[in-house]
C-alpha cells in the first residue's frame, strides 16, 4: 500500500509538470471566444436560492446557444468550501486543470484567495468588453472589495445594500427605528421581536458592521487595517450596544437564526417584527415566492446603510479559463444584468450605469416592475462603505468570545 501510494504521488507530479498551456488574454477577445467554444465552466456559486439557481439555468442556456459553452453550477452551501477545494488542489500540486473555473465571491474569501495567490492574474476583469458599461464612478465598491483593491482579479456581478423589512399589517411604519440607536429603544419597547443571524454569517456580521460604522467615534480608522490598540476603543460602542441589545432579542439572545433565510422565516412566522437583508429587492422576491405576506415593506436608516458589490473570480488553476472569461462577460451584459434585476427572476441590483447604455438596453431596465416592497433607488439612502476586512474578522472573534461561547 505505501509503495503504491508513493508511485501514484510520483506519477501525479510528473504529469502535472509540463501541462501548463498558454493563458487566454482578454484583450484579444476573438481568440478567447474561439478557445472558449466547447469548454465546460464549473461555476461554484451558493445554491441556497431556487431563484438564483433558475437564473443560472437561464444563463447556461444562453451561453450554450451563443458561445458553445457548457455552464454547470456547482451548488455550494458556503463559498469557503470552493476556496478550500482550490487550496487542496494547490496542496496536491494540481496547478492546472483544476475543478473550479469560476467562483461567486467577495469580501473575506476574495481577500484570502488574493493573499494566497489563488486567483487567475494579471487583472483581467476591466478588459472584458462589457466592463465599459460598469458604473465605477457612482459605485466605487466595484473596484474596492471591502477596502481590498480589486485590481481586475474579479469581475463585478451585482450590488448589495443593507435594507430592513417589516410587516405593515402588524407594525405601524411610524414606530419603526431610523438608526441603530433607535433600534435599541425599539427593542426595549418590543422585547423578543428582533434578532440577527449568528455571526460569522454574512448577513449577521453585516449588521454588526452597520452598528460599528454608525457608532464609531472616528469612522475613518475603519478604512484601514485594525491596529491592536485602536480596536478596543473603536469597537467599544458596538459591544456596549450589543450588551444592551442581545438580552432584549428573540430567545433572549441565547439562540440565533443561522442565516438570512432562517431570519426571513421568523418574520413570516410572526416570531420577529423586523428583519433585514443585503438586497433591496429581497422582500419583493420573497413575496413573489409566497414566503412572506404581501404586506411586508422595506425601510432604511436615513443616515445610510452598508453597501458592497459581489463578484465572480477565476482560480489560478481553472481548467476552462477562456470560457470562464466569456461567462463573466456575459453575466455583465446589459441583457443578463437587466434580467437579474427583475424581482420576478432574482431582483439583484445591477452594477452597470444605466446612463451609459444604448436606448434599447435602457428600455430593458425601465420596463422592470420593482415590486411593492422594493424602495426605488432614490429612496435607498446613502451608502456606507464597508470597513477593512480585518475589522470584520476581529469583530467576529470578539462577538464569539462574548456571546457565542457560553449561553
Amino acid at each position: 500500500m505505501p509503495r503504491y501510494f508513493a508511485a501514484a504521488l510520483l506519477a501525479a507530479f510528473l504529469f502535472s509538470l509540463p501541462a501548463r498551456a498558454a493563458e487566454p488574454d482578454p484583450s484579444r477577445w476573438d481568440a478567447v471566444l474561439a478557445e472558449a467554444r466547447g469548454q465546460t465552466v464549473y461555476f461554484n456559486a451558493w445554491g441556497g436560492s431556487e431563484a438564483i439557481n433558475a437564473y443560472l439555468d437561464w444563463a447556461a442556456g444562453e451561453l450554450a446557444r451563443r458561445h458553445g459553452i457548457k455552464l454547470v453550477q456547482v451548488k455550494v452551501d458556503d463559498t469557503a468550501n470552493a476556496v478550500g477545494r482550490v487550496v487542496a488542489e494547490k496542496a496536491a500540486g494540481k496547478d492546472s486543470g483544476g475543478s473550479v473555473d469560476l467562483i461567486w465571491i467577495n469580501g473575506e474569501n476574495f481577500a484570502a484567495m488574493k493573499k494566497q495567490d489563488l486567483l487567475f492574474s494579471p487583472g483581467w476583469a476591466e478588459k472584458l468588453p462589457n466592463f465599459a458599461y460598469v458604473d465605477a464612478a457612482e459605485k466605487p465598491t466595484v473596484r474596492t472589495d471591502f477596502t481590498v483593491p480589486v485590481g481586475g482579479l474579479e469581475s463585478p456581478w451585482g450590488m448589495a445594500k443593507l435594507v430592513f423589512f417589516y410587516d405593515e399589517a402588524r407594525t405601524p411604519a411610524a414606530t419603526l427605528p431610523r438608526s441603530a440607536k433607535a433600534l435599541l429603544d425599539w427593542a426595549k419597547a418590543n422585547p423578543g421581536r428582533f434578532t440577527y443571524p449568528q455571526p460569522p454569517d454574512f448577513t449577521g456580521s453585516s449588521f454588526l458592521k452597520q452598528v460599528l460604522v454608525e457608532l464609531a467615534e472616528d469612522p475613518s480608522v475603519l478604512a484601514r487595517p485594525v491596529q491592536g490598540a485602536t480596536f478596543q476603543a473603536t469597537a467599544r460602542p458596538l459591544f456596549d450596544y450589543l450588551d444592551a441589545l442581545n438580552p432584549l432579542m428573540w430567545r433572549g439572545g441565547k439562540a440565533f437564526p443561522q442565516n438570512y433565510p432562517a431570519m426571513k422565516q421568523l418574520l413570516a412566522d410572526k416570531e420577529i417584527d423586523i428583519a433585514f437583508a443585503f438586497n433591496p429587492a429581497e422582500a419583493s422576491s420573497a413575496i413573489a415566492a409566497g414566503e412572506l405576506p404581501d404586506s411586508v415593506r422595506s425601510f432604511v436608516f436615513p443616515a445610510g446603510t452598508l453597501a458592497n458589490t459581489h463578484f465572480v473570480a477565476i482560480p489560478y488553476n481553472a481548467a476552462a479559463k477562456a470560457a470562464a472569461l466569456v461567462t463573466a462577460d456575459f453575466l455583465l451584459s446589459p441583457e443578463a444584468q437587466a434580467r437579474k434585476q427583475d424581482p420576478k427572476v432574482w431582483g439583484d441590483p445591477t452594477v452597470l450605469s444605466i446612463a451609459r447604455l444604448d436606448a434599447a438596453d435602457r428600455a430593458r431596465f425601465d420596463a422592470l416592475e420593482l415590486g411593492v416592497a422594493t424602495l426605488p433607488p432614490a429612496a435607498l439612502g446613502p451608502a456606507l462603505a464597508e470597513p477593512d476586512a480585518s475589522w470584520m474578522e476581529r469583530i467576529e472573534t470578539e462577538w464569539k468570545r462574548r456571546y457565542g461561547a457560553a449561553n
Binding site: E50, G84, E108, K254, F256, G404
Partner: protein, 572 residues
C-alpha cells in the same frame, strides 16, 4: 480447484483492508500533519503545537466539547433504555412484531430530514403550537420559548435518539432469535420473576453483547454529528463537530491548521465518550448483579412495560408526523401562524425542483448501487473466508471495520480529498464510489455478519456430504438461505450512501450532485417548502430500497414458510 477458490475468498479481507484502511489512514495523515503545523501548500513546513494553541484559544471550544460528550451520551443512553424497555417488555408478543413493522421503515429516514421534521413539529412556531393556538393558549404569535436549539442540547439529544432507536431496534431484532427469548422468559416466569426482571437478568446481557458495537457506533455518531447539530443543537456555542466543520470552512486559510487540530480533539472527545460508556456498562452490570443477588421478583412491572411501549410509539409518531409536515410544507402556499393548516396549496416548489432533480437522482442512484454492490461482494468474500478458515474476524479487523463509523468524518475527509487528487483519481465518479465505500462497507458488513455467522454450519456439512463443493455450497445453499439478510444489508448500504453529505461534497468537488448535497445546499436557504421537497426526495430513494429488500424475499420465497417473515429476520 479448492486452492483457487480459497485464494479468491482470501482476497476479501485484503480488499476490505485496502478499501477501508487505505483511505482512512491516508486521510488521517492528511489531518494529523496539518494539526501539527505541516501542510506545505499553506506554508506550513515545520512541525509545531501552534495549531493546538490556537484551537484552545477558540471561544466556546470547551463548552462545545462538553456538549458533544453530553448530547452523545444522553442520546445513546436514551436509545438503549428505550430499546431495553420495549424489547424486555414486549419481545415475542404480537404487538411487538406489529410495532417492529411500524418502526423499521424509520431506518431509511435521513438524519437531516428527521431533524427538520422535528423542528416543524415542536418549535414554538411548529405544528403542535399551531394546533392548540390560539384557542387553548391565547397565542396569536409564536411564544418566545427556547425549545429547539436549547443551550443544554436536549432537543438535539432527543432528535438523535429518535433516529437511533429504530437503528438499534433492527440490530437487536437480528440478535433476538439467537437468545431464545420465549423459552428463557418462560423459565424466568416459572421462577416467579416478572417479565422485565426476567429479561434483564437472563437475556439482556446476551442481547447487549450482540448489539454492543452498534451502540458504540451510535455513541460515536452522536458525539460527532454535524447536520443534526446544526439543525437542532445549541448555537452559542454549537457542539464541537459543528465548530470544527466551521473552522474547516473558514475563509482564512490558515485556520485549516486549527481545524485539523480540532478534528483530532473531536477524535479524543469521541474516544472519551466511549470510555465513559464502558464505565457506565460496568456500573450497569454491577447494579444488575446486585439486583440478581437480592432475588426480588418485580412482578408488578406493567407501568414499565407501558413506558417502553409509549416511548417507542412516541418515537414512531413524532418521526412520522415530522415527515408528514415536511410533505405538507412542500405543497404549502401562505401558512401564517397560528393556522393549523396552510391557507392554500401549491405545487410550485415541486415544479421548480422537478426540472432540476433528474441528474442528482441519477447520481445518487448510480453511486449508491455501485458502492453497495462492491461492498456486498467484498463482505461476502470476507465472510466466506471466515467460514472457510474458521477464524472469526479478529479484534484488529473488527476495529478497522468500525473505524470509519467512529472516526469523525471531518477528521479524515480533507486528507482523503488530497489523496484522491494526488493519486490522479481526480474528483470523478470512481473516486466518489470509493469514498462512499469507506462508509457503506462497514454497515453492509455489520448487517450481514450476524445472520451469516448465525446460519447453521451443518447445512454446509450436509452439502459437502452430498458431494457439493464449497462454491456450490456458497451459491446454492448459503446465499439463497441468506437472501433476506443480503437484501437488508444492500438496502442499509444504499441508504447510507444516499445519505452521505460531506464525502460527496468534498470528494466529488461538487461536480457530482446527489439528492443529499442538493437538499443540504437548499436547506442552507431555510425555505421550508424547498426543504420539504428535497427532504422528501432524499427519503424516497432509501425507502424504495428497503421496500424492495422486503418485497424480494417475500416474493421469491412466497412458498417457503421458513424464509418469509420479513427481510430483517431472515436466515435464522
Amino acid at each position: 480447484m479448492a486452492e483457487r477458490r480459497t485464494a479468491l475468498y482470501r482476497l476479501g479481507p485484503v480488499l476490505a483492508v485496502a478499501l477501508l484502511a487505505g483511505p482512512l489512514l491516508c486521510g488521517l495523515a492528511g489531518t494529523v500533519l496539518p494539526a501539527f503545523g505541516y501542510l506545505p501548500a499553506l506554508g506550513g513546513r515545520t512541525l509545531s503545537l501552534d495549531p493546538f494553541r490556537q484551537l484552545l484559544a477558540e471561544p466556546g471550544l470547551a463548552r462545545g466539547a462538553v456538549l458533544a460528550l453530553t448530547t452523545g451520551l444522553a442520546a445513546t443512553a436514551l436509545s438503549v433504555a428505550v430499546i431495553f424497555l420495549f424489547v424486555a417488555g414486549w419481545a415475542g408478543t404480537r404487538l411487538f412484531s406489529r410495532i417492529v413493522h411500524l418502526v423499521s421503515p424509520l431506518l431509511a429516514v435521513p438524519h437531516a430530514a428527521a431533524a427538520f421534521g422535528l423542528v416543524f413539529l415542536a418549535a414554538p412556531s411548529g405544528f403542535i403550537a399551531r394546533l392548540i393556538s390560539p384557542e387553548l393558549t391565547g397565542w396569536e404569535r409564536p411564544p418566545d420559548l427556547l425549545i429547539v436549539n436549547d443551550p443544554a442540547g436536549l432537543a438535539m439529544s432527543a432528535g438523535l435518539a429518535a433516529k437511533e432507536i429504530p437503528f438499534l431496534m433492527l440490530i437487536a431484532l437480528a440478535a433476538l432469535p439467537q437468545i431464545e427469548v420465549t423459552r428463557t422468559l418462560a423459565i424466568a416466569a416459572s421462577a416467579g420473576y416478572g417479565r422485565m426482571a426476567g429479561f434483564l437478568l437472563a437475556l439482556w446481557p446476551r442481547l447487549y453483547r450482540q448489539i454492543r458495537l452498534a451502540v458504540f457506533a451510535v455513541l460515536a455518531f452522536g458525539t460527532s454529528v454535524v447536520d443534526v447539530g446544526v439543525i437542532l443543537g445549541p448555537t452559542a456555542p454549537p457542539p464541537l463537530a459543528v465548530q470544527v466543520t466551521r473552522l474547516m470552512q473558514d475563509p482564512d486559510l490558515s485556520m485549516r491548521f486549527t481545524a485539523s487540530a480540532g478534528a483530532l480533539l473531536q477524535l479524543a472527545v469521541t474516544g472519551l465518550a466511549l470510555l465513559a460508556w464502558l464505565g457506565l456498562e460496568h456500573v450497569g452490570a454491577m447494579l444488575r448483579r446486585q439486583m440478581g443477588d437480592r432475588g426480588r421478583r418485580f412482578r408488578r412491572d406493567a407501568p414499565l412495560r407501558l413506558a417502553g411501549l409509549g416511548a417507542i410509539a412516541l418515537t414512531a409518531l413524532v418521526t412520522f408526523a415530522g415527515l408528514g409536515l415536511l410533505a405538507l410544507w412542500s405543497v404549502a402556499g401562505q401558512w401564517p401562524f397560528p393556522d393549523a393548516l396552510p391557507a392554500s396549496l401549491s405545487l410550485d416548489s415541486w415544479a421548480s425542483a422537478a426540472s432540476r432533480i433528474g441528474q442528482p437522482l441519477w447520481s445518487s442512484l448510480s453511486v449508491g448501487l455501485a458502492a453497495t454492490a462492491t461492498a456486498l461482494a467484498v463482505t461476502v468474500l470476507c465472510l466466506a473466508n471466515e467460514t472457510e478458515t474458521g477464524r472469526r474476524t479478529g479484534t484488529g479487523a473488527a476495529l478497522l471495520i468500525y473505524l470509519p463509523l467512529i472516526v469523525p468524518q471531518a477528521g479524515f475527509l480533507f486528507g482523503l480529498q488530497l489523496l484522491f487528487l494526488v493519486a490522479g483519481l481526480g474528483n470523478g465518479w470512481p473516486a466518489l464510489v470509493l469514498s462512499h465505500l469507506v462508509f457503506v462497507l462497514p454497515y453492509v458488513f455489520l448487517s450481514l455478519a450476524d445472520p451469516w455467522r448465525a446460519l447453521d454450519r451443518r447445512y454446509e456439512a450436509v452439502a459437502a456430504g452430498l458431494g457439493k463443493g464449497r462454491l456450490a455450497a456458497l451459491t446454492r445453499v448459503r446465499l439463497p438461505m441468506l437472501t433476506g439478510a443480503l437484501a437488508t444489508a444492500a438496502a442499509v448500504g444504499f441508504a447510507v450512501s444516499v445519505g452521505l453529505y460531506l464525502p460527496t461534497l468534498l470528494v466529488a468537488a461538487g461536480r457530482i450532485e446527489t439528492v443529499t448535497t442538493e437538499a443540504v445546499a437548499l436547506a442552507a436557504g431555510g425555505n421550508r417548502r424547498v426543504i420539504g421537497v428535497y427532504a422528501f426526495l432524499q427519503l424516497a430513494l432509501p425507502a424504495a430500497g428497503f421496500a424492495i429488500a422486503t418485497a424480494v424475499p417475500a416474493l421469491l420465497f412466497r412458498q417457503r414458510r421458513a424464509l418469509r417473515g420479513g427481510a430483517s429476520s431472515q436466515g435464522r
